[in-house]
């Protein structure tokens, strides 16, 4: 069983900045792995038996090499960094196309696990688009995933409960946040990770032209960006609990209007 886990490095909450073209600035920002992607990795490591391999893949700047190495220490067998200046500014279509190309380049995966959405963009589109590009089914909003006789059994979260699905491999599954707690790196894992290489894939390796990836390959363009509730954070500080609750309630009522 070959498992691919797609990970995204997102800015830590409260540190998001955008440039003149409304692209997230990741270079100076403190980054963390997307929470739902961490659940996807732990799901993969939980499923993994001795014969299986777990490959982690991320698309982003070169500085993600060390964080990727940490994922090797946590139990991943192989780490892939898809990085090229040409990939900058990619929307979900361009991102999914690039990831799908990388997945094809790396070989046939039986299972692709992703987080269901990233905490920066919150679109939740990429997993389904990757699956579509690869021509495989996608199950979104997974709470748990198990393997049996070459099929994947997924508990999928619905608005009114949970549905159990069985799908033959290959399949893409997007995991809900907080469903699996990502394990800590172990001492032995860290020792192993030291001798492993984070593999780099750029646009040339993937055979992608500049027109088909990054900002140029994107179908959507952000034309403006505004804060929904400017100034809300700058209100007076209230130290009394009851008065603070009343003030918060009034503020929420104002927003709902």
């Amino acid at each position: 069983m070959k498992i691919l886990v797609c990970m995204k490095a997102v800015p830590s909450t409260g540190q998001v900045q955008v440039d003149g073209q409304f692209r997230l600035q990741r270079d100076g920002a403190k980054l963390q792995w997307n929470i739902a992607d961490e659940a996807a990795l732990e799901a993969a490591l939980t499923l993994k038996s001795a014969e299986d391999t777990v490959t982690v893949l991320t698309m982003g700047p070169a500085k993600l090499e060390d964080p990727l190495r940490e994922l090797l220490a946590r139990g991943a067998d192989r780490a892939i960094l898809v990085s090229d200046p040409a990939f900058a500014g990619a929307d979900t279509v361009a991102t999914a196309g690039t990831i799908a190309k990388a997945a094809e380049f790396l070989g046939d995966f039986d299972l692709i696990l992703c987080g269901r959405r990233a905490i920066d963009g919150e679109t939740g589109q990429t997993p389904a688009m990757v699956a579509a590009a690869l021509g495989i089914p996608c199950i979104s909003n997974a709470e748990s995933v198990q393997l049996q006789n070459g099929a994947v059994f997924v508990a999928r979260r619905l608005e009114s409960g949970t549905v159990l699905l069985s799908v033959p491999c290959p399949v893409c599954v997007s995991m809900c946040e907080y469903t699996y707690t990502l394990r800590l790196p172990g001492i032995m894992g860290m020792r192993r990770a030291k001798s492993k290489t984070v593999e780099l894939l750029d646009s040339a390796a993937l055979g992608l032209s500049p027109q088909s990836c990054g900002l140029k390959g994107s179908l959507t363009k952000v034309i403006s960006m505004d804060s929904k509730f400017p100034g809300l954070r700058n209100g007076p500080k209230e130290t009394d609990l009851n008065a603070g609750t009343d003030a918060l309630l009034a503020m929420l009522q104002e927003v709902v209007k």
Partner: protein, 357 residues
């Protein structure tokens, strides 16, 4: 592989010197390199390629009690234990940790505890509470464990103690940082506790209580019960009238606030309530409560006995500045360390045994 978060704590020190005046190890050894800020500077130099993380630097990272005194008083709110723990992980991964530390880790591998011995059992059946004894009390201060169990029996509490009590992981965490091996110990411990179905866990060693309350859940090792320190639990029994106060013994004592009760749980009143109920007249040392000076930890004592004995002597110096003749403690770790340097004419008192008598 020091994380960006830990490096942020290491590199943003503004050199205000407060931790220099507070660090119990620096106070005793006088070595500048033993200040938390110096440890941060060293790691910052490594990160910038200006120094190599070698055996000497690894040794320095272990000359720390992780007592949190520096955290408590850091003017800028930084947390040296964050990067010190990660540096220890780095030391173990790269075989740079001191030999004495590696020996303790091997002992944990072999026996589950740093002492490399079969952990003595205090197993008993009960249904009201589960008492978690911990490695230090079980292996080194058994009289305190017995004292606590007697106190609970005296109050009519039906207390269960596990046979083959699993390690909490706190000792391994001090030796090698928060790594998967520690989380695995935590999971085993949580599973054993949850299997009893008992809804209140009384934890004798506050170091164990800290890791259970603050770390277990984020490692997926939830305990389905309330975790309460033994000091808080016994103080409540006294408050509820289930334990009668003893007659005054005529001895003036000062309570030692152990590192975790002082700076993790901010639990100061319970130990004093226990001391009063045990018949002691109380005075206070200058460094008390959140500012209490550490007297050492059991793990540090095991790999650097000379330094920790000096640190414990430093705490006795604090007592010598009062009229008290007794250092009162309900912590097995503190009892063990203080016992290494008890001055003539002074005594370290295990409050549970005193209350049980």
């Amino acid at each position: 592989m020091i994380s960006q978060n830990a490096l942020r704590h290491a590199e943003k020190c503004r050199f205000c010197f407060m931790c220099r005046h507070l660090c119990p190890i620096q106070l005793q050894t006088g070595k500048e390199v033993n200040t938390p800020r110096a440890k941060g500077l060293l790691l910052s130099m490594v990160n910038k390629g200006a120094a190599e993380f070698d055996k000497d630097m690894a040794q320095t990272m272990y000359e720390c009690l992780i007592c949190d005194a520096c955290v408590n008083d850091c003017a800028t709110g930084y947390q040296p234990p964050l990067y010190i723990r990660e540096a220890r992980t780095e030391a173990v991964v790269n075989d740079l940790a001191p030999q004495a530390v590696m020996q303790l880790i091997e002992n944990v591998d072999a026996t589950g505890n740093i002492y490399g011995v079969q952990k003595p059992s205090f197993a008993q059946e009960g249904s009201d509470v589960l008492v978690y004894i911990g490695e230090v009390a079980a292996c080194k201060v058994p009289q305190m464990a017995e004292g606590l169990l007697k106190v609970l029996a005296k109050a009519g509490v039906s207390a269960k103690v596990l046979d083959n009590e699993p390690a909490s992981g706190v000792m391994l965490a001090d030796l090698m940082g928060y790594v998967d091996e520690v989380a695995q110990q935590a999971k085993a411990c949580a599973a054993a506790i949850n299997a009893t179905g008992i809804k209140t866990v009384v934890v004798l060693d506050s170091y164990d209580a800290e890791i259970m309350k603050q770390r277990y859940a984020q490692w997926g090792a939830e305990i389905n019960a309330e975790i309460i320190t033994a000091t808080a639990y016994v103080a409540k029994l006294i408050e509820d009238g289930k334990l009668a106060a003893k007659a005054a013994c005529g001895t003036l004592g000062a309570c030692h606030d152990d590192d975790r009760l002082a700076r993790t749980f901010y639990e100061f009143a319970p130990i004093r309530a226990i001391a009063k109920a045990a018949g002691y007249q109380l005075t206070e040392m200058f460094n008390k409560e959140r500012l209490a000076k550490s007297c050492g930890s059991a793990v540090a004592l095991a790999y650097m006995p000379n330094i920790v004995t000096k640190v414990a002597a430093g705490r006795w110096d604090d007592l010598a500045r009062t009229e008290a003749t007794a250092m009162l403690t309900a912590s097995p770790e503190a009892y063990l360390c203080l016992s290494q340097a008890t001055p003539e004419g002074k005594q370290v008192v295990d409050l549970y045994s005193a209350l049980a008598e």
